[in-house]
Every structure is written in C-alpha cells, then in structure tokens.
Subunit: 457 residues, 2 copies
Amino acid sequence: MSSPAASRITAVDTFDIRFPTSRELDGSDAMNPDPDYSAAYVVLRTDAADGLEGHGFTFTIGRGNDVQVAAIDALRAHVLGRPVDELCADPGLLARDLTGDSQLRWLGPEKGVMHMAIGAVVNAVWDLAAKRAHKPLWQLLADATPEFLVSQVDFRYIADVLTPEDALHLLRRGREGAAERTGLLKERGFPGYTTSPGWLGYSDEKLTRLARQAVADGFTQIKLKVGADLADDVRRCRVARSVVGPGIRMAIDANQRWNVDEAIEWTKALAEFDPYWIEEPTSPDDILGHAKIREAVAPVKVATGEHVQNRIVFKQLLQAGGIDVLQIDAARVGGVNENLAILLLAAKFGVPVCPHAGGVGLCELVQHLSMFDYVALSGTTEDRVIEYVDHLHDHFLDPVVIREGHYMAPTAPGFSATMRPESLAEFTFPGGTFWAADLAQQARTDQKLTGQKGAAA
Amino acid sequence: MSSPAASRITAVDTFDIRFPTSRELDGSDAMNPDPDYSAAYVVLRTDAADGLEGHGFTFTIGRGNDVQVAAIDALRAHVLGRPVDELCADPGLLARDLTGDSQLRWLGPEKGVMHMAIGAVVNAVWDLAAKRAHKPLWQLLADATPEFLVSQVDFRYIADVLTPEDALHLLRRGREGAAERTGLLKERGFPGYTTSPGWLGYSDEKLTRLARQAVADGFTQIKLKVGADLADDVRRCRVARSVVGPGIRMAIDANQRWNVDEAIEWTKALAEFDPYWIEEPTSPDDILGHAKIREAVAPVKVATGEHVQNRIVFKQLLQAGGIDVLQIDAARVGGVNENLAILLLAAKFGVPVCPHAGGVGLCELVQHLSMFDYVALSGTTEDRVIEYVDHLHDHFLDPVVIREGHYMAPTAPGFSATMRPESLAEFTFPGGTFWAADLAQQARTDQKLTGQKGAAA
C-alpha cells in the first residue's frame, strides 16, 4: 500500500452511550418522567499526521439510542474516504450531500432520527475543522468571512424569506464591532440561566434550596417545569417566586404537554407569578397554534425550538409571529450549517435566540453558537441567555465553565464535543463496564425473584 | 409450561425487504432518481389456535431501510406478550402507548423514522384484527360504531380544530346511506388514477404509449413527474396532453423540488396544459408556503401529503388553506388510527382525500382507507381518486384488483398487507436469494476490475 496523496477520513466509529440518570429523577418533566440521558456518539478518524479526530453526537433520553446509532451508521459511506482538507474547508458540501441522499431523504425529509444523525456527523466535521484551525468553534465562525458563512447555508425552502443577499447583509452588519465584543466575551462570558432547581420530580425543599443557590450563583433567570398538575404548578411557582424575588426572571416549561386551548388557560392561571416565558406550550409542529397562544398569553412570552425539526419550521414560526424567543438546539437539526440558517432567520426577524441545553453535552456544544451569534451576527446579549443544567459535564474533556451565571468562552480548539475515553468505556450500552455490571445485577435479581416465585408456588 | 389463559403476541419479527427497482428507472422523479423500492416489514405472531398473523410495513426507497427496521425492533417490548383479544379490540391503546413512550418520543416526536415504525406496527395490529373479524379492513371500519371510531383517535394537538364531538357528528352523518354505498362500491369499485406513464426517466415514446394505454384502461386521470428541467416538462406535458385529450385530468408532481417562488413560476409556466393539480410543489413542512402557492396558482389545485409527517401538520394545511387535495399515505403516519384523525380533519374542512400510493404495497393498504371514507365518512367519490402504479403487486397474497380504472373492493379478510413468503425469501436484504446472488456477482466484478487495474499498473 502506498501512502495516500492527501489525508482522508479512515473511520466513522459510533458508540451507544447511556447514563442512568432516571435513577435520580434528574431531568424529569411533564412529558419525560424518567429519562436516561444518552448520546449516539460518532468519532471521525483520519490518517493525517496531526492525529486529530472529529467528535459529534445526538442527544437522546434512552430507549431508541440504538436506532439513532444505526442512523449514523447509515451515513458512513458518505464520509469514509473523503479528503480531510476539502471536508474541513467546506462542511456545507457534506451537509448537502447527506440531506440530499435521495434514498435516505425518504426517511425524513430533514426531520427525526435521520436528520439528527446528519447533525451529529456534520457537527463532528466542524469539531475536526476547528481543532485543525487551533480555534474554539465560536471563534472559527466569528473569524470567517460573511461570504464563506453564506456558502455554508442551504437556502432551499427558506429563500422566500431569507436570500443569500439578506444573509450577506446581516453578516456584514454583524462584523461591525466584533473585535470589541470578542474582548467583552472573553472577559465576562455569555449569560446563562439555570433549569437545575425546576425539575418536576424534585421536592419543594429541594426546589427552594436550588433556587436560592441559583441566585447566589449569579443567575438572573431560572426555569421551572410545569404541566403535569395545575395545583402543583401554582404551589411550585409560588415557592420559587417567593425565594428568588421579583427581580429574577422565572421561565416555565410545559414540554409540549398541552393542546392549544389548554396552553392558553394554564399559562394564564400561572400569570400571577410573572413567568418570563412559557416554553413548549404545545406540539413543536403547531406553528399556527403557537401564534394563537402567543396572542392570548402576552405579555408572557412564547418560546420553543428544542424539538423544532428544521429551518423550515423555524422560518414559519417567525413568519406567523408564533414565538418571542427562539430556542436552537445544537444536536436536533442538521448541524452547525442548519443552525447558521436558523440564527440568520432569527436575526432577520429580530427575535432573540436563547438556546436549549442540558442533556448530555448540549451546553458544551451550543455555547459556541450563541457566542458566534453575539460576536458576529446579532451583536448583543440583551434578552439572550443559554440554558444551563449542571449534569454530566465531567464526562467531557473540555466542559463548560460557568462563572457568576455566565458561560465563559471556551479556549480549547474544537466544538467541546469530545467525551473522556474512560466515560465511553464505562457507559457504552450494553457492553461498557457500568452497564455490564448493572445488567448482570439485574439478571441475578430476576433469577432470585423467579426462584422465590417457584418456591412459593 | 402451562398454556396461557388468553392468547398473546408471541413474536414481532422484522424483515429488511428491498426490490432492485432502480435498474429499470421505475419510480424516478425530480428528487428520487434511482429508488430501490423497499419495505421494513413486520409480522406479529400469536399463540392463538387460529394461526393468524398481523402484517405491516413501512415503505422506503432503499438505503436506510435497515434503520427503519431497527426502529420497529425498538418497539418490540411494547407489543410482545399483549393479549391478542384486548389488542385487536382497541388498537388505539397500543398506538397511544407507542407514541407516548417518553424516551422514544424524543426521537420525533411523531415524525420520521420512529413514527413510521409505529405506523407499521399499528397497521399490523389492524391487519390482525380484520383477519380475526373475517372482514377486509375497509369493511371492519365501515361497520364499526362512530363511538368506537372516535375512541381510536388521538385528539391531542388537534382538539382546537376537531373535537371528539365534531368527530362523532361527522361519523354519524357519514353512516347515512352507507349500505347503499357499500353496494355501489362492491359493484363499481373506487376510482383510481395512474402515475405509470409519467416517470421522469421514461422516453417520450414510452410516455406516449403508456398514456394512451392508461386512457384505454379506463383511467380518467394520469400524473406526470415534473421539476427537473422546465423545457423537458413543457415538452412532456404537451406530449401527454395531446395523447390523452382535454377530457382526461392530468396532474403534475414536483416531489418537493422547488422553493415557494419557483413553485409558483414553474406551475404557471405549465398552466397552458391545464394541469389538474400540482403535487408536492415544495417542502411538506411548509404550511405557509403551500398557502402562498395555492393562492398564486389557482385554478390549478395544490395537493400534498405523502411526506406530511402527522395529523398536526395536516391540521394546519387545512387551517391555512394550503391544499385543495389531501393526500394521505397509509404508511407514513402512525397507522390507521392517525389516518382516521386525518380523514376526519379532511371531512370537517370538506377537502377531498386522494391518497398517495405506489411504492411497495401502498396501493394495497390505502384502498381500504379510501373505501371506508367513501362508505362511512365523506359519502362521495366525487373528485376522489386513489393513485395507482402497476409495480410489485405480485409480491402480495391479496393484490389490488383494478377494473376500468377503478380499485375493486378487497374481499379477503385483513389489510391486504401480507407479502408472499417466497418474496420475503427472495428479496430480504442482504441474505435473500436474489441479493445473495447479486452481491456475489458484484463482488466478482469488483475483483475482476481490481485485477485488471493491477495488471495495467
């Protein structure tokens, strides 16, 4: 074998990573009572001398993580063998090849399992590109020319609202003052808000303690899960508001629990506690429903996005006046490229972007997108906050750093997506050390119960 | 082992079935140049003495069919062990359990790979229920009480537009004259239209021959694929219109090729050939885009639905005035139960339902839904036609029967979903007899080419 002229992608390795979070009721909400936070994780390896890898993932909450891994596996043939220089110079080309695969497209198009898989792979390419450029991703994007960024966006199905010329204009405007904002970002970070106090499974005592802690930690916004039981919600909102006082923003989040009319009634019933926004009041697919809710519940703002499938639905949520706050997710849509399109749509409509995060590694990823947005597109942090949840960060090599309620700008090259090798070894399902031991323990318990039943019979 | 008190589901077997249709350019259109029509196929087995099985499937066009199979496998635990009587008496309960699985829901919700998998399993239950009732599915549904049918619908996220009371009213009204319509249906069948002449990959000669044949066969509507090249489309529409004359409806289908503004321009450029509808002018996710297109291209009608992910998007297409023709697909949404919701929404808005079919087995399935709609809901076949494509029917035990351009009412019990065992044995990928031989042949060819290259070097 002669050595290749240019280095290429030599492996697309996938991992089914699951954390047993359901045992602590972390992350419980009205629709998701017992999530096991998980990642369908992908590593791109190359034969380049630098030894750098591209890491990416889809976040899931347990069952079905294997389906998500199978979807990433289905993309392998598109990535394997690509020249690394070309791939990293134009991730948008791969993104278009993946969403345009005519056979795989049938499984979406551009939504659900297959689209999230594309997002994981595209994000892994951006991770590799940023590592090779020796820059954190936010800086790679902020340093890029407007022309390059426009070339990275797929305008199909959004060109009626956002043209390449519009995008160029927004990005050129965004560059004004970018150097100064970069300095401010490095000094102060980007504002965050915390969901840690507000999970449904927590007691009032724990809610009180964590809400108090959130204010002490410098957060100016917290979020409470609602939607399972109105009397509970009234009590929990009252507790939280009394703890944090009137000066702290308190968002509420129904995780799609309601029909349109229920959303309106329920939100109004909680209005006395001055919620800043109602998040995911109904199905993320219901554009017209969000518009109706928003009109009815003002001045409470309407927020959604963590389950919005792609730029086309975001386009319409903005067109229809369905949202006050746009919540991107770094690992739901088709990766950095589609999120660029969504950030541009938000900028065109002047709607603030407040990312969804938490889960596994979503904070690590999405901070880069908000920081780029601040430095080189929207130009402001006003009314912009990134969700923060203090779970599972220690599994990452370059975990988020929070100071005084702010995300500090990452300095390590890449997309902060790389999980520790020992975490992969422990939490790979079902063969990792944690799960192997856990499943063996379960099998012993099952056997014992069967034995007891047999003896009792 | 003592025998169980009631018979239960004992196996949920899955098959990755692929037909090599790309080699004939059957099914080629502007977005899908080389589909290999495939089915992620599921068989529910029981320990009942009747030996009956429930069959269902998701249609895909090749790559990714394995991901779809993995998604069906992920549902197995929900189905295995269920008592058959209860399951068949209330398939809606299973449908709700599947869409409501909080962890799997994260992978949608209610869209894409995971939702289509749910559709396959739910449809398999209805197949089993109809077989056990000794009725074709259309008749099982038409004979059911309005109260039962309402109990089968999930009104979540559509109740702002369609309440259970609305549904009950529509179904009670639909029963009036049902006996007479059943007689007419058995005598004349349900009107179809054919897409067979219009695939993009066909020559003008083949288009001419097949369009002439379609009229001779009694079809009163044909459909042409468009959207790859305007000059070609003008020529092909001219050829087809001149062959079929002015009295035959000619639909055109862009398979999502266009942006909103392109859709308007292109459709107007073809208006001189009097197209009856423009199908899938743009992304199925673009509700507001469809409304804009519809307003601009009238009197050409706007049709979509084969890729519409769920009842929530259909609800909005109707609310926004985005479509003149609603095209259900039997295997895209969450099965019969969700299609009941969609038929009810269409009935409420008075919009005709003209199902998408073709592919593998989609004609076999969807005829049952249209026939139910005619007999017991809409009460009419006016402006209603089911797509017909003459591919791959011989793989089914109970294939569609077309007479004088009409689908004849199925008489065999079930959902017409059962594939011949010999077809499963031949076209299972990659181990079936066809694919094993084909892949071996490919390997030999590859080896030979490598050998020649080696010799030439």
